[in-house]
Symmetry: C2
Subunit: 344 residues, 2 copies
DNA sequence: ATTAGCACTCTTGTCTTCCGAGTGCTAATG
DNA sequence: CATTAGCACTCGGAAGACAAGAGTGCTAAT
């Protein structure tokens, strides 16, 4: 489909105005606020054309028009202007982050809070994914009889812990020894590549406590394949009430339901970790659950290796330009912080 | 003040009906549904009296009446009947909990989810408070140059970690040694009693790395005095939309704001940890922020030592009877699980 | 191709009316 | 004296009527 310059300008004006006001916009508004040199009648004609092309929707005859999903998609892909949002807060992200010295979970949470504050949409984030990082150290800590806490520390300075059962006759010094051997052997390797069976000189441990050995190995394998829902961070849920599209309780409820399904968010963010910045409008082709919502995400990296993602979720009538700008800047800052830690 | 049997019965009926329906209840309703052997006129007279005593409120002349806060308080303290709620789910709590083998944070989260499911109010919980527990082990794990992860494990099988800065010249074996010495010296002692200065034979570490030594000691002290906001667990926030009192966005927003202020929730739950079961109606005397909300909480224990609390937050028009029942049963189950771990 | 003008449509807010639920009071009753 | 039947009164909410306003589409003029 082909569009004239003027059509695009009008569409742009309508989308911008609607994003700002949430009120269907009419031809006179456009003429007055955005293009005073052409008449409302002309704009009316163009709008009529745009409606026939499926870009505008009339809620009812005597109202203005609102952008269709297609229009939003087109806006994001082609029309939208770069919004340079250099607020003080964004400029100082890195400094703030650095103060948190290595508590990566906290850093990501802060990033989400920052995104939330600057966009006023609900921020979502995926903490650094262990499977995408390399091991720093494993420590086995006895907690109770037959219970051991496995703590994994990675190069993204993330920490993950889990209780596992062990045979009662495994003593503390054995745990310490095993911690030491595993850490030494696999330190610096990708978590995904860790296989305790590759350990040399531990055949006696393996033989004496096969179940124990198996549990630890299983746990490591588990971390590699699935990131659990606790990896998803939310910030600023209540923001949603600032938008008129959620004034009805049923809509608000649907939104909260969505946020409850961490698996979905985790999937979206994982995808984004791979793909970099992505904009999903009203669910796009892949997410039926997200109808009437938009999700914008971007990844953050250690060096050139993406390890997590941040984003926002909100109404389709979203200020995409601003959101993308804030996200990419925050993502860059986050990447810098992560990377500097690893290389320090 | 003195009340006749009948007055109490009528008050009880009004409160029960209003809790169920959220609609101001009139004299005829009471007569029909609850006391068919006296006439609505009689009830009308009694209701008028109850209103003058400050127990009932008329939203407007031609509506029924709703209970006042005083009435709710009285209801909870004197009138309310024991509600025996022995649903399958509650009966099987302990089994479910035991499956989680020692992941206390997860156990508490599950308890909250269970409370939420069974009451349909938003559940809040305080994870086992470290200052109320005794130390099992401390482990110092190097994460990056100049950064060390301190992991504390306690007898409630809770784990707390924090990054701290260390001088670059502290090496791994020193950390291991220190972990070992601290754990050995203080294992079994209340966290509150730990003071690294009491350690013998570490004067060389202390002299060589005073800043490092100080950070660790500070961290332990910090854990003792303040429990951070991450200790508060929420479950089932969206439930609030099931209640008509939050149909207006502004009310819902206030609720979410409340849940965001973790310090407040933490304070309430900490208080409850000390006091056992407590019911705060519309903020009571102490919490002005909680106006128009009710919070019911109870503590859970290790043996006879309370270490945390669980509760719900919701509208003043709350089914106190059911809530208290569910909370106390869950609290008991939780206590059993915690206790059995410690003593095993 | 653009635009002025106008009739038409449809929502929104306001006003009125009406109904019903509920009350308070009075007088009758056991 | 407590209880109750009866009735007038009050008020909120729903339904309908109406005007105002915003916006459109179409036609005819430029």
């Amino acid at each position: 489909m082909n569009f004239s310059e003027r059509q695009l300008a009008i569409l742009n004006a309508i989308i911008c105005d609607y994003i700002e006001t949430a009120v269907p916009v009419g031809s006179r508004t456009i003429a007055r606020k955005y293009m005073p040199d052409i008449s409302s009648a002309t704009i009316r004609n163009e709008m009529s054309d745009l409606e026939h092309m499926g870009l505008l929707i009339q809620p009812h005859t005597s109202a203005g028009r609102i952008p269709s999903q297609t229009a939003y998609r087109m806006y994001v892909n082609k029309i939208m202007e770069e919004h340079d949002f250099d607020d003080y807060k964004i400029n100082h992200i890195e400094d703030d982050f650095v103060k948190l010295k290595g508590e990566m979970l906290q850093v990501v949470r802060n990033a989400a809070a920052l995104i939330n504050m600057n966009t006023n949409y609900t921020a979502i984030a995926l903490t650094p994914q262990l499977r995408r990082t390399t091991l720093k150290r494993i420590q086995l800590i006895p907690v109770a009889k037959g219970l051991v806490l496995v703590v994994m520390v990675t190069d993204a300075a993330r920490v993950k812990q889990k209780m596992i059962n062990v045979p009662v006759n495994v003593n503390e010094s054995l745990l310490d020894e095993l911690s030491f051997v595993i850490s030494k052997r696999f330190s610096g390797q990708a978590i995904a590549d860790i296989d305790l069976n590759l350990l040399d000189g531990i055949s006696d441990i393996k033989n004496e406590h096969p179940a124990f050995f198996e549990s630890i190995n299983n746990y490591i394998a588990e971390v590699v394949v699935k990131s659990d829902s606790s990896d998803v961070v939310l910030e600023g849920v209540k923001c949603i009430f600032d938008y008129p599209e959620y004034r009805e309780v049923s809509h608000a409820k649907r939104f909260l339901n969505l946020l409850d399904s961490k698996e979905l968010l985790q999937k979206i963010l994982s995808d984004s970790t791979r793909k970099g910045t992505s904009v999903i409008i009203s669910g796009g082709d892949s997410y039926r659950e997200l109808e009437d919502f938009s999700v914008v995400t971007t990844s953050y990296k250690v060096g050139s290796r993406p390890i997590g993602a941040i984003g926002v979720i909100g109404p389709v009538r979203m200020d995409y330009s601003k959101v993308i700008n804030v996200l990419e800047k925050t993502g860059k800052a986050l990447s810098n912080v992560m990377t500097s830690y690893i290389n320090e």
